[in-house]
């Protein structure tokens, strides 16, 4: 499950790729959701056909991120994500999209400066000066001062991508201005790269710092959950609401990480995957409502259920999944995360529960406002292509909800390995 080749012996970086239980589901997610997004891109809207090229390039870069077992290679693919994402966001058209793309670029590029510095310092302070991840993880960890500094640097660098509060400034504008198909991919897959970096690099290589900053991480996670949920409730368009909802869910991931218990870590990973299925579905349907249902802002009752029954059902399904209905994937993830966090950080659990209540509020309200009532005008329901996109997502969400052990079994070995590094907290 690994391949290694010489790349840059002068500075100790090699072309090292590999798959384990954490990266496999993410790779499948990238491939699957990526395919769906490619189908979802409407060619006629764009002046040039290069959006497909950019999406493929972004997908390729993400594959690289999830496969890399060499820190420099990881960083190379990480940075490579910037350019296609910039073009994809700006393809939304209009000055606002351009500004959103630039904002995204500057935030992420700035964050990656921190990331690079952290990586360089980490490598500098390790015996052997090699960039190899497995080597770094197996070696004795550096002094706590170095660990602390690297932890903060890497946290900022990776956190911009997740994102979590307060590094999320690029998210609302980017998710709302980009074309819906692009937002599907960004929120479903690209956002996971940051959390993945935390699992892959920070926790194995900086165990003491991870333990020391556990409370800080939990606080940030809790703030993100509540902040995201509260702002989602106050938004006036579906896209903006789901953008903040996406932010809120990433807070759960951070919470599980901070807890550093077996269930916490596994739950965080599960949330990542489940959110990677729910979020694309939500953005896809919002895009359809906006274009074909002519509903851009939240009116009192748009009656879309009557106008577009299939879409309505799918939307209700997705919104219920989003709020964590048992039997659907998000519940398994969130439940396990909270169960894992409860023994160590009760305050954070309380905050998360508040977030869940808010999530119920905004999701149910969305259902009521969009679906109920009398429709204004007729709209075309989901066609064959749209069903091809939505049905797999629906099945995935339901499947993971009913059979979560499929994923949990994959997560077990790497989670155990990470925890043994942390000293079995």
């Amino acid at each position: 499950w690994a391949v290694q080749a010489d790349w840059l012996p002068s500075i100790g970086a090699s072309y090292h790729l590999g798959v384990d239980g954490i990266s496999l589901p993410l790779l499948l997610l990238t491939a699957g959701v990526g395919l769906l997004c490619l189908i979802a891109l409407p060619a006629r809207r764009f002046a040039r056909g290069d959006v497909y090229a950019w999406l493929l390039l972004l997908q390729g870069a993400l594959f690289g991120v999830f496969l890399a077992l060499d820190t420099l290679l990881f960083f190379v693919f990480w940075e490579l994500m910037l350019v296609p994402a910039y073009f994809l966001i700006a393809a939304g058209g209009g000055a606002a999209a351009r500004r959103a793309a630039l904002r995204f670029f500057m935030f992420t590029f700035g964050g990656s400066a921190f990331l690079l510095l952290g990586i360089l310092i980490l490598v500098q302070n390790s015996p052997g000066r090699s960039f190899d991840m497995l080597g770094l993880a197996a070696a004795a960890p550096p002094s706590s001062l170095v660990q602390g500094a690297c932890f903060l640097l890497l946290l900022i660098g990776l956190g911009v991508k997740m994102p979590f509060f307060p590094l999320h400034g690029w998210l609302p504008s980017a998710y709302t201005e980009a074309p819906p198909a692009v937002t599907m991919f960004l929120s479903g897959v690209m956002a996971k790269a940051g959390a993945y970096g935390l699992f892959r690099i920070v926790y194995p290589m900086l165990p003491d710092a991870a333990g020391a900053y556990s409370l800080t991480l939990a606080t940030l996670g809790a703030i993100t959950i509540i902040y995201g949920a509260a702002l989602a409730y106050s938004r006036r368009t579906p896209q903006a609401m789901f953008a903040y909802s996406s932010l809120s869910h990433m807070g759960f991931v951070l919470l599980g990480l901070a807890a550093a218990t077996p269930m916490g870590l596994a739950g965080a990973l599960f949330v990542m995957i489940s959110h990677g299925l729910i979020s694309p579905l939500l953005f896809f349907l919002s895009g359809i409502f906006s274009e074909r249902g002519h509903v851009r802002e939240f009116p009192d009752a748009a009656g879309l259920y009557t106008a577009m029954p299939i879409a309505g059902v799918f939307f209700a399904f997705a919104a219920l999944a989003n709020l964590g209905l048992p039997g659907l994937s998000a519940f398994a993830g969130e439940f396990f995360t909270l169960l894992g966090t409860y023994p160590v950080l009760i305050g954070a659990v309380v905050a998360a529960l508040i977030g869940l209540i808010l999530a119920a509020a905004y999701n149910l309200r969305a259902i009521r406002q969009l679906l109920m009532g009398e429709p204004g005008r007729p709209a075309a329901d989901l066609g064959g292509v749209d069903l091809t996109i939505s049905v797999p997502l629906v099945l995935g969400i339901a499947g993971l909800g009913l059979f979560p052990t499929l994923l949990f079994r994959l997560f077990d070995p790497p989670v155990t390995a990470i925890l043994s590094r942390l000293g079995g907290m």
């Binding site: 002068s10 500075i11 040039r48 490579l80 350019v83 400066a113 510095l117 500098q124």
Partner: protein, 475 residues
Amino acid sequence: MNYWLLAPEIILTIAGLVLTVAATGGASARALAAVTAVADLAALATLPWLWSQGPTELWDGLFVVDGLAVFFAALLLTIATLLALLSPAYLERFGLRAGEFFTLVTFAVLGGLVLSASRDLITIYLGLELMALSSYPLAGLMRRDARSGEAAIKFFLIGAVSSAVLLFGLSLLFGFTGSTHLPAISAALSTQPALAAPIAAAMIFVVAGLMFKIAIAPFHLWAPDVYEGAPTPVTAFLITASEAAGFAAVLRLFGDGLGPLAGSWGTLLAVLAVLSMLYGNLAALSQSRAKRIMAYSAIAQAGYVLAGVALGNESGLSAALYYLFVYALMTLGTFAFIAWVEVRSGTDALTAFDNLAARAPAAAFFFSVALIALIGIPFTAGFFGKLLLFRAAVGAGWSWLAVMMLLNSVLAAPYYLRFIRHMYFPATAPEAGAARAVVPGGIAWTLLIALVGIVLLGAIPQPFLGWIEAVRLLP
């Protein structure tokens, strides 16, 4: 006395004389460009043999063949060849005298070669002056344009003063150590227990004189006006070749001659480098003309290379050399495109770039890759060069330098992105069914070569990096 060691210089001298004669005969720009390119390629071809001759000195160090000499020869000749590719279209469009252009460029490159193949104060200065004197008229080549004339005069005055300052510093060095031969100077200086006043003065003068040449802040005030006023191929030449030669002088003088004083000049150069980076990047953010943006960007990029030099160790040297080379590629690619935009629309304002992605997709893409390389995105040589510099800084314990370089990388991104924004997402909507714009052959080839170089060196840098690491300063 193996005169074959002088092969590149001899080839260039012959070429320069041929071009002088051909210029009076009224040959076309393309013919003269071809002659120059052939001469440069011939000189390049002698370099592998030259490298195998190992470190040798002629005439007591007035002329040497070592790693550094071969590297800079390769760099300068590559720049000259690519310049010959991209200039004819511009020269023809604006009615510039191609004969004078190519003759002066050839002699300037010759000066650069002489300068980098030297371990003696005299030939260093000689080479520097040959290059400078050839460059001054180049800046004023657009005789009917007032800005070009202003650029030439500014360049000449500042250049002459900085040469004088440099010469004064060099003479102080000679006076104190009793020799113009760099190893002898180095030996004499290493016996000094402390930094004597004359030596400090000499160092200050040399630093000032050289920093003018490579446009490092705060000695950069001439650069934006000169770079903007000069014809675009000349600007490209100044930014790449003239700065490269300047760095060759810096490396020789500081690495070779003033080596024992590394503790003193290291921090000084590092501070100047950071000033350059900050000033260049911040000033570029508010510009609206392409050449002026690139002028300030050149000031910032020179700062990066100087930071590598300031580290004073081998990884810093390798990083600086690597970055110099890829910087030349990126800049020539960028300027090839800017030159085309000027040929096409007569101006270099950013609005002239609007919609070019639709009109000339391939060229716009190549240009974007060069810009992305300048920003420092991976799989381009620009990223790898920056990585080497960061790593050298962190490795030497100068984390503050690495932090400043990273900060400046981030600062620089917006103004490079501005080009991309104008090309791909302009404020004015494109006219439907706009015709494809034609890119002149030479410019297209330059863009392609630059792209291939940038991506190749970015993805598989190892062979080239291995060669650069073999370039050491002579003991």
